[in-house]
Symmetry: C2
Subunit: 359 residues, 2 copies
């Protein structure tokens, strides 16, 4: 025990000293760059303002987990199969943190093996989206989180049932009380906790982000050429910012009508405006190598082909094989630290917990 | 960096010293008690030989992770949905480490939402089973692990396809080579790695185990009475050892024919011996409060009712409400530290990886 204490104290002292040093280093730089901390990826970073901060893509900031009780509750709920009617499907079933925050299927498998109508977007970095779902029908992550729970083709429960399940599990009642100060669980708070957890699911420290912070040797010549092409050809017009996408809606088929899927109307479902037909939220390109198949209709499994399709339908250009290769190389440099989570241990149901229903 | 090194060296020194001290302490005791270490539960334990070591239930030993490369590979494979035909079902889908190593369903949901014929047993502490599956048809965990991958009602893949999927993912090729020294992945090695991981899934440090190690205040009077009844009434005859079960086959309905399910013949399927009809492997009672519903046929969700059914059909006795309550209290004291795992990050498929097939 004395030895454990010694280690604990050493570590505490060491981290205090390190914290102090880094804080001082930060203080000498621009104030806006001062926040230093651990993301779920776990690596520390600091430093000054780079000339490259003027680039149209920004490195993903390392964020603090400001409310650990809430994000821990959200983590449990994210993996909670009892939020589904069957007791078998959780948020993670379709937004699998093991595989880039998506399910790598054309469209998701839901209750009773029903297939969804559209490819599941990744949950990683989803906080950088201007709105959620391909058509942007949920204005934020909290609103989004409520959708699949009650969607008969996904988790197939309903908000009342999902809350009832949690309310009959004493540990959840305790945790919600600790976080929200109320003994009564609400679907709003369920969604709030899930969203808070999802906001921690960013992927900093991609090699490209290090390059943006002046570490020249982090990316190769081919990747750098790919980035130059990505800007030159016009991809950057839509795919920019922290998420390399997610900040805008765009018509799929700007210069050439998109013929692979003429059923899915996109943003039109929300606005009912004729001009919003085939308009979709621009997807994030962070970690794109992890989330095949691509596009809302999963029309290709190949990242090269996806790049060529974009060039053809959105930019009216044809890329050479080398150009495509370089752009793909650049896109692969956008893969960051994947969120590291301890697989949660969920509390058992009580005898009054509604039973799962597989039918 | 210097500080990190200092901490690392301190920790190394400290643990070496601690290891030495504990080893010496152990040396003074019975040799068989000498192994001390960390399980996935994370707490350390040592100590001498208790009088209670003569009890028919033994505390779960803390085990060493002797081959971390192999168990880490097994962890990834355990959560690998691409071992299934659909690319959506993993070992963890039915043996969820978040919920006691089981799925808490009457029978498991498999490919195309097919329902299995029997309740999924927990993977936790399954190394203490004399054989695997309810009918013991797999003699060990390695043999068991191959079953669900190729079962059309479960993961619905086949061994050739599952291996092909892994073989086309460069990281898996590298990891298998590191562990098994071969560039060619085999289903035997896949199963071996999964089994090695599963062997780490023990749940030491239950309150009852602490009591077995002379910590009197770890369990209540009611729990202790429950244990006395558990022995007195005869439950202990089958439910004993490390796993509180798992070391024997028994007929369900010893003193009264079991009428709730007359379809499932159990061990008879393996031996074809008439006397093995309705004979099943005695299930483990470790963490039993986490794994409702109960019995191979999931005939009850209530642990109290399960205890009463056992009394009626196996022991020919009727328990008072108090007796049942005390036995249930004792059973809940068998819940140990649940395995703590970092959710694995899986490598992306390559363009030659066979695509998932949901149909």
């Amino acid at each position: 025990m004395r030895i454990t204490k010694f280690i604990a104290i050493s570590c505490l002292l060491a981290s205090t000293v390190a914290g102090g040093l880094l804080f001082q280093a930060g203080a000498a730089e621009n104030d806006s760059q001062k926040r230093i901390g651990y993301g779920r990826g776990g690596r520390m970073q600091g430093g000054g303002v780079s000339e490259r901060s003027k680039e149209p893509i920004q490195p993903i900031p390392i964020t603090f987990d400001d409310n650990r009780a809430k994000t821990d509750l959200g983590l449990k709920l994210f993996f909670e199969p009892r939020l589904s009617k069957s007791g078998w499907i959780s948020c993670n079933s379709c937004h699998n943190l093991a595989t880039g925050g998506a399910d790598n299927l054309p469209t998701s498998i839901g209750h009773k093996w029903l297939f969804g109508p559209i490819n599941a977007p990744t949950v990683l970095n989803s906080k950088f989206n201007l709105a959620q779902f391909w058509d942007g029908r949920a204005s934020n992550l909290k609103e989004q989180a409520k959708g699949p729970i009650a969607n008969p083709m996904e988790m197939a429960s309903n908000h009342e049932l999902a809350v009832n399940v949690l309310q009959t599990i004493p540990e959840y009642v305790k945790w919600f009380k600790e976080v929200y100060g109320e003994g009564k669980i609400t679907i709003d708070n369920v969604a709030d906790a899930i969203a808070a957890f999802e906001e921690t699911l960013t992927t900093p420290n991609s090699r490209f982000d290090w390059w943006l912070k002046d570490y020249d040797d982090k990316i190769s010549e081919s990747e750098l050429q790919g980035y130059a092409l990505f800007k030159e050809k016009g991809c950057i017009g839509c795919h920019n910012g922290f998420g390399v996408g997610g900040s805008d809606y765009q018509k799929l088929g700007v210069v050439k009508p998109y013929s692979k899927d003429v059923q899915t109307l996109g943003r039109y479902h929300v606005t009912k405006k004729e001009s919003d037909k085939f308009v979709f939220k621009v997807p994030l390109l962070r970690n794109i190598e992890l989330t095949a198949p691509y596009f809302h209709d999963a029309s290709t499994w190949s990242l090269s082909e996806a790049v060529n399709i974009m060039a053809e339908y959105q930019l009216g250009t044809t890329l050479t094989k080398d150009e495509t290769g370089n752009i793909v190389a650049f896109l692969k440099a956008l893969t960051g630290d994947q969120p590291s989570v301890i697989f949660p241990i969920l509390p058992p149901s009580s005898e009054s917990t509604p039973k799962p229903n597989r039918n």
